[in-house]
């Protein structure tokens, strides 16, 4: 008599597997609508891929020019993560190592 937790676990795994198989069937039947809903005007800034080494510098120029807000916010997320790890790993007064 298997315990209830392993029954629930195998039922959940079966459901997840079924949905993933459904997704794979969908992928075979109807291809992913790549850029079907893209806006009419060409508003994306694209980098040409012919000089292959030029892609890296193009991406970094884009990152610093147009996504500086996300980089600033990410810097603050890193500060928050440092404070989080400090809060979790500092010993209490009276507690040994």
């Amino acid at each position: 008599m298997k315990p209830i937790w392993s029954r629930l676990g195998s039922a959940a795994s079966a459901v997840i597997l079924a949905t993933l198989l459904l997704l794979l069937w969908l992928a075979a039947m109807e291809p992913f609508p790549i850029l079907r809903y893209a806006p009419r005007e060409a508003t994306r800034s694209l980098i040409s891929s012919s000089p292959f080494e030029g892609i890296a510098s193009g991406v970094s120029v884009f990152l610093w020019e147009k996504r500086a807000l996300d980089i600033t916010a990410q810097a603050f997320v890193i500060v928050a993560a440092i404070v989080c790890c400090l809060a979790l790993l500092k010993p209490e007064e009276g507690e040994g190592p």
């Binding site: 676990g9 993933l20 891929s49 991406v59 997320v77 993560a81």
Partner: protein
């Protein structure tokens, strides 16, 4: 033109592996690895979609992936700090022992 279908199949495969890892494994560090695999599935999808225009590369998706890797690393770091604290209390990293908070 790089075909997208193999990359989509790999994304779903990574999704399945990550979810399976989260459900089956009992070591806490393996659970954190499963979360990392899920994030990598999303990153792979971004990169595969960024080269779909003929002869051009879209830098937006690649910048998003670079930042997502950093964010995901921060989450895993906090998770590992929490695993350390769990070990101090429970003396094990088996997640099936964390059943004291019942109904």
């Amino acid at each position: 033109m790089i075909p997208y279908t193999p990359f989509m199949i790999s994304t779903f495969l990574l999704l399945a592996i990550g979810l399976g890892c989260l459900m089956v494994k009992r070591d806490m560090i393996r659970l954190l690895m499963g979360i990392e695999i899920l994030f990598n599935a999303a990153n792979l999808n971004f990169i595969a979609l960024s080269v779909q225009s003929e002869g051009f590369v879209d830098p937006l998706a690649q910048s998003v992936v670079m930042m997502a890797i950093v964010l995901d690393g921060a989450v895993i770091a906090v998770g590992l700090a929490m695993t350390l604290n769990v070990y101090r209390h429970y003396r094990t990293v088996d997640v099936r022992k964390l059943r004291r908070l019942r109904w």
